[in-house]
């Protein structure tokens, strides 16, 4: 029982990492990784949204769409759920941490279109996860996202002052770094 959930977590964080293995949610991964503090703020916002969205999506699907035989509506219903959770998060962040709100800027509402969020909700349905499994899977995916975002931001802070050859400066070396990180994460395949 406990082993199942921890396997699910490890699987979502490392083996099937949403950013570096499944290539979902690359937009904030490249966009807000310039500074470590911003990355941490974005990670916590995304963690909150992902976990909550996967829980509410599961409830919506199992309790509302399935009984009415409306399984085909799941994509639009999930997008509605995600948009509401993101909007709620935006209000909370704006109230509690105005600096973070300003720094995250457009990337905060853009969590709505972060495909990792919708991806988790849909995968939960496809894999026929139970309620708890969905919650853990969403949380694990969020942890994996946070992990690579923070790691990547830390590396990019160093890259900003590193002696990079002229043609590779800026986003180019960021892409290369992301590729190498992705290769490294592929090494986790077979762990679970």
């Amino acid at each position: 029982m406990l082993a199942d959930y921890s396997l699910l977590l490890v699987g979502a964080i490392l083996v099937n990492n949403f950013v570096l293995v499944q290539f979902l949610g690359l937009c904030p991964f490249m966009g807000v990784s310039n500074k470590l503090e911003t990355a941490i703020g974005m990670s916590s916002a995304t963690t909150f949204v992902l976990t909550l969205a996967s829980i509410v999506s599961w409830l919506t699907y199992e309790w509302l769409l399935l009984p009415l035989g409306l399984g085909y509506l799941k994509t639009i219903a999930f997008i509605l759920v995600i948009a509401v959770v993101v909007q709620f998060t935006e209000m909370v962040v704006r109230k509690t941490s105005p600096m973070l709100y300003k720094v995250l800027g457009v990337f905060l509402p853009l969590i709505t279109t972060n495909c990792a969020v919708l991806g988790v909700a849909l995968i939960n349905i496809n894999k026929q996860h139970s309620f708890l499994e969905s919650a853990f899977y969403g949380f694990g995916a969020a942890l994996g996202f946070s992990l690579v975002l923070v790691l990547f931001a830390a590396m990019r802070e160093r890259l900003a002052v590193a002696d990079v050859p002229e043609p590779f400066k800026g986003p180019a070396i960021g892409m290369i770094t992301a590729g190498l990180m992705s290769l490294a994460f592929m090494g986790f395949a077979g762990l679970v």
Binding site: E37, L64, L68, G69, F88, M91
Partner: protein
């Protein structure tokens, strides 16, 4: 009725989305009131770092307008009374580069406090009107005096005084504002002589 809805998938879909949308809308409406932000919280934080002299040396009519201007991207180095410390604190808050104080707006001066030589005061109330922080007490044709703990040392009362009875005095050194004297700039031998030319 229920049968009818179940047999018309279009109505069922519409109803389901409506059923989803209503509580979500209610939740957001509640959150909009519960987490309402009034004014500009960033400007508030910036203002709390400014020295509140209300002196206008930054070319804005006071500390609050300058704080709002900074929140909208104005340079952070226009506050001479705050000096390096304020610039450093603002740079930390806003996560921007530390800039040297903009000399156009004046230089960082030693903290002073206004002092009215009371036996020369004619009670014209001009300095009271000039004081941005209401630190001067007095009435027409009565002697005025400065509340030392309220005075920000902004200089604005000196100019209007018709009999020049206001002095700006340096704050006496107390345990609260005492600090080490900085060591001399040329303290070791290599400071006093130019560096030898490389490869000469």
């Amino acid at each position: 009725m229920i049968d009818f809805i179940q047999q018309t998938p279009f109505l069922a879909a519409l109803g389901a989305l409506l059923l989803l949308g209503l509580p979500f809308g209610a939740l957001l409406g509640f959150a909009a009131i519960r987490f309402k932000t009034e004014g500009d919280p960033i400007a508030d934080q910036i203002e709390s770092l400014l020295p509140q002299t209300q002196c206008g040396q930054c070319s804005f009519p006071g500390c609050r307008p300058y704080a709002e201007a900074i929140a909208n991207g104005e340079a952070i180095n226009k506050c001479p009374p705050g000096g390096e410390d304020t610039i450093q604190a603002l740079a930390d808050l806003l996560d921007v580069e530390v800039l040297p104080l903009d000399a156009e707006h004046g230089e960082e001066a030693i903290k002073t406090v206004a002092y009215i030589r009371e036996d020369e005061c004619i009670g014209c109330t001009k300095c009271i009107q000039a004081c941005p922080v209401d630190a001067i007490l007095g009435a027409a044709k009565q002697m005025h005096t400065v509340i030392k703990s309220e005075c920000t040392g902004c200089d604005l009362c000196v100019e209007p005084c018709p009999v020049d009875c206001i002095d700006m005095l340096e704050l006496p050194t107390t345990l609260q504002n005492w600090s080490w004297n900085l060591p001399d700039a040329n303290i070791i031998a290599s400071d006093r002589q130019a560096a030898p030319e490389v490869g000469a």
